[in-house]
């Protein structure tokens, strides 16, 4: 298989020792096994996420995303930009759409970029790692390197919002996307297809500003996962991962629940199935340890 190369946009949360550093770790191991080469966009900056709107306004948010595009165009010409973070992907894609459709905004954006000595020509292509896996590698490609099938492990595929709406993964439905389930099955695990909260919002950035409201959301998400018979949650989004994992203890305090469900990234599952170590899979980065998976690594 020829090496596939992409311009990598890890995003703030996936940096070293950041909240999704374990995501980064596992993505790197996963890509190694799949012979995918990721080259970080040099000097990339934050996407502004969604909540940046309050102070950021429209054009500044477009500009900071365009800055990443411009850098990618210059330093990694011809390579698709690949984001692992849902917010980074969405922020970038929205910026691209907006600039493609409104020449006025494109003009103003480049005016701003000029101040940083940059210019965006408008021909980057933005993709999420999940798209790369499904479209470029394919499920067969994902299956090939499997050496330790995740036999007997039950996962609820929690997709969340921003990898699903408004763009979503080609061929998937907004209300019932199936790709995580299919990945889990491909890796030999068992997908809880009856899980009915897979696209429920975790509260996103409001986890900080409106904890009660978003923790109610998270409660439903975890509860339904238990109801479906899952042992673990798997997700493609760092914010979803953080919110659903970090606040379980809080929710237990508030609602007297006994939640203790590991929340993992698809990339961690793959790394484990590919024979990676606990460390390579970033399993040591779990607040709620995924013993069942660690056991497989130990095998």
């Amino acid at each position: 298989m020829a090496k596939k190369e992409y311009a990598f946009y890890p995003g703030c949360s996936s940096q070293l020792k950041a909240s999704a550093s374990n995501y980064l770790t596992s993505v790197n191991s996963m890509c190694e096994k799949l012979d995918v080469k990721l080259t970080e966009i040099p000097d990339w900056n934050c996407c502004g996420a969604s909540v940046g709107y309050a102070e950021g306004g429209e054009l500044p948010r477009l500009a900071i995303n365009a800055r990443n595009f411009a850098l990618a165009e210059t330093h990694l010409p011809g390579q698709d930009i690949v984001a692992t973070c849902a917010a980074c992907w969405l922020g970038s894609r929205e910026t691209k759409e907006r600039l493609d459709h409104t020449s006025q905004l494109m003009k103003e954006t480049n005016e701003a970029l000029a101040a940083a000595g940059l210019n965006y020509k408008g021909d980057v292509n933005i993709r999420h790692m999940v798209e790369v896996l499904i479209e470029d590698i394919g499920y067969d490609g994902i299956k090939k390197p499997v050496v330790k099938p995740l036999e007997g492990l039950k996962f609820a595929g929690y997709i969340g919002c921003q990898t699903n709406r408004p763009f979503g993964i080609a061929g998937e439905s907004f209300e019932n996307p199936k790709y995580l389930d299919q990945m889990v099955e491909t890796l030999g695990g068992e997908a809880m297809t009856s899980y009915d909260q897979k696209v429920t919002c975790c509260g996103g950035a409001l986890a900080f500003s409106e904890p009660e409201k978003s923790q109610k959301q998270i409660k439903d998400i975890i509860e339904s996962a238990y109801d479906s018979g899952a042992q673990m949650l798997v997700t493609p989004c760092p914010l979803c991962q953080a919110n659903t994992e970090v606040y379980q203890s809080e929710i237990n305090k508030k609602y007297g629940t006994k939640f203790n469900m590991p929340v993992l990234y698809y990339s961690q599952l793959m790394t484990v199935a590919y024979g990676g170590s606990i460390k390579e899979a970033g399993l040591d980065g779990q607040l709620i340890r995924a013993e069942a998976l660690e056991k497989i690594c130990g095998k």
């Binding site: 999704a20 900056n45 940046g52 103003e108 940059l118």
Partner: protein, 207 residues
């Protein structure tokens, strides 16, 4: 009343819809709403809205400027995009809500102490400072938004979580002294400043 707000009132007299079309992100789509209410029913935080999106659109058409801009409803948006994908008129509702919130914020009409307003501001300033988000300072800044006492309180409440994150190498105490940043900070800041300047001019903000 901020001068920006004054100007807006002057310029649009009683036609709030025109004002929104000109100054609010995607505001020119507000007029296309047909009041079906699918957005109102699709929002995860729906129960916490005083006015649903579709109702806000009607209020805009009805010229209820103060009521809309001082409302904290838009601030409930979690950016889940359910409303966008279901809207039969394809209104970019999420963005309009963000736009309205930002506009109200810029005019100084947004509710004081609205937590998301404050967190959002904190977040933006944090990312602009270094070009990348510093999760530690962000978190601390957030906990201490209501002053030391409250900060320590929430801080302690979340201590377990915090320590857990540190233990899991997903939160770095050292970040408090610097941490991740873009190398060309100068250029980055110049760019952001420029963008803000253009936008302010366009929308009549006195930046």
């Amino acid at each position: 009343m901020t001068t920006a707000n004054q100007n807006a009132v002057e310029r649009y007299r009683n036609n709030f819809l025109k004002e929104v079309e000109a100054n609010v992100e995607e505001g020119d789509m507000v007029k296309m709403c047909m009041q079906c209410g699918v957005c109102a029913g699709s929002c995860p935080l729906g129960p916490h809205w005083e006015h649903s999106p579709q109702k806000i659109f009607m209020m805009i058409r009805a010229g209820k400027r103060e009521e809309v801009l001082s409302s904290d409803s838009m601030w409930m948006c979690t950016s889940c995009y359910n409303c966008i994908v279901r809207c039969p008129r394809q209104l970019p509702i999420t963005h309009i809500m963000h736009g309205l919130a930002n506009y109200a914020h810029r005019l100084g009409l947004a509710p004081k102490g609205q937590p998301t307003r404050e967190f959002g501001t904190l977040f933006w300033n944090n990312l602009v400072k270094k070009g990348r988000v510093n999760e530690l300072t962000l978190t601390i800044g957030h906990y201490f938004k209501d002053g030391i006492a409250a900060g320590i309180k929430t801080g302690l409440a979340m201590q377990a979580v915090g320590l857990g994150m540190v233990k899991a190498k997903r939160l770095n105490p050292m970040e408090i002294f610097g941490g991740h940043a873009v190398k060309d900070l100068k250029g980055f800041h110049a760019m952001v400043a420029k963008a803000q300047e253009i936008e302010a001019k366009k929308k009549g903000f006195t930046a």
